[in-house]
Symmetry: C2
Subunit: 215 residues, 2 copies
């Protein structure tokens, strides 16, 4: 692992690490102790070669004649993905979707703790959502620096998203989960994971809708 | 367009149609009447060749010496993506995230109307969220058929997701926005768009976290 450069690991392999972790956690709930790359792959419609190749980017985790120890591999994947520790997460935008995400228990279960909420609306400042007080935008930079926050969830209107992204990146944010329906321009060392829910539905409606006449 | 087979259109091209549509809507708000493929591409960090190639799958939309008429191309893209009409959408799972999505205004703005909500919890049945009454699971099939619903949002626990997917697909659902942290097995003519929010954050934490020692 010490010799791996993150640039050399393909993004799809990193995404599959998350899928492996989910699957292993599910096997663990069913009291499975060990699993082969073939079994892990089959549960995700992947080949065993793909599983072994993905994991090999990060180390040697299998044991001959045993396969992977489920507990052990879960621990290793969490360490690689960084979810073996708790991350403070910032939420910018306390609208409908933002408040919903603040209340969503799924984040905390994975080690992502809501540390601060910001909104531009004076009527929302000082209110508490999911136990966290909404702060005004002019405290954004100082709070990020004081709490050493690296991850942010952005649920602001499209027209303000870039401006907010610039502010939080300048203050030290290195990963943004972006729900604003707009592409963000950020420096190369900052990750953006876009989640445009309407686009997801649009892609599904395309598939259901698009039934052209064949020649 | 009549001669295009959906299988021959790459998924990334369809995803970019959504991005073009967002960008064109933004240009329209700024009162732009026409736009070139170069300008549209630049706003999304794409080449003009990519823009022209993607659109060419669906028809001839540009005008020599003018480019694209913004209003016209918005209408064409909405027609192709199926968002020129209103879709009834089903929500299964009225937990925290489900109720938040029910309240999210972004869907309705894009033509996705919440038509029905289902939950297995007797305490939730009969309650109203965002104006829609929660129905018991045994009415799932009959409601889908009666209202001719094709799209569903799934926010049920991982352990129940496949079982619910089987039920709604059998009743006629053809597109599923899946928030359950599990891969769904569905027939090839059914689309699944997975949104695992914790995985998104995990991918970002990997990027922030993963700073290996170089040799």
């Amino acid at each position: 692992m010490e010799n791996v450069r993150p640039d050399s690991i393909p993004n799809p392999a990193v995404r599959r690490l998350s899928l492996y972790l989910r699957q292993l956690e599910s096997f663990k709930r069913k009291d499975r102790r060990t699993i082969s790359s073939k079994q892990l792959g089959e549960s995700l419609n992947l080949t065993d070669a793909q599983v072994r190749k993905d994991l090999a980017y990060f180390g040697q985790f299998g044991h001959p004649g045993i396969g992977y120890r489920v507990d052990d591999l879960i621990g290793q994947l969490r360490r690689i993905l960084g979810t073996d520790k708790t991350w403070n997460v910032l939420l910018v935008g306390a609208g409908n979707l933002g408040r919903a995400l603040a209340a969503y228990k799924g984040f905390e279960r994975k080690g992502f703790r809501l540390a601060a909420i910001f909104d531009a609306d004076p009527a929302k400042i000082g209110r508490k959502y999911s136990g966290v007080v909404v702060q005004p935008m002019d405290q954004l930079g100082s709070t990020i620096r004081a709490q050493n926050i690296r991850l942010a969830i952005l649920t602001v209107p499209a027209d303000h998203a870039q401006e907010v992204a610039d502010q939080i990146v300048a203050a030290g944010i290195r990963g943004i989960l972006n729900f604003a329906p707009v592409s963000l321009n950020v420096p190369p060392d900052v990750g953006v994971s876009p989640v445009d829910l309407a686009v997801h539905l649009e892609q599904l409606s395309f598939q259901v809708n698009f039934t052209p006449v064949l020649p």
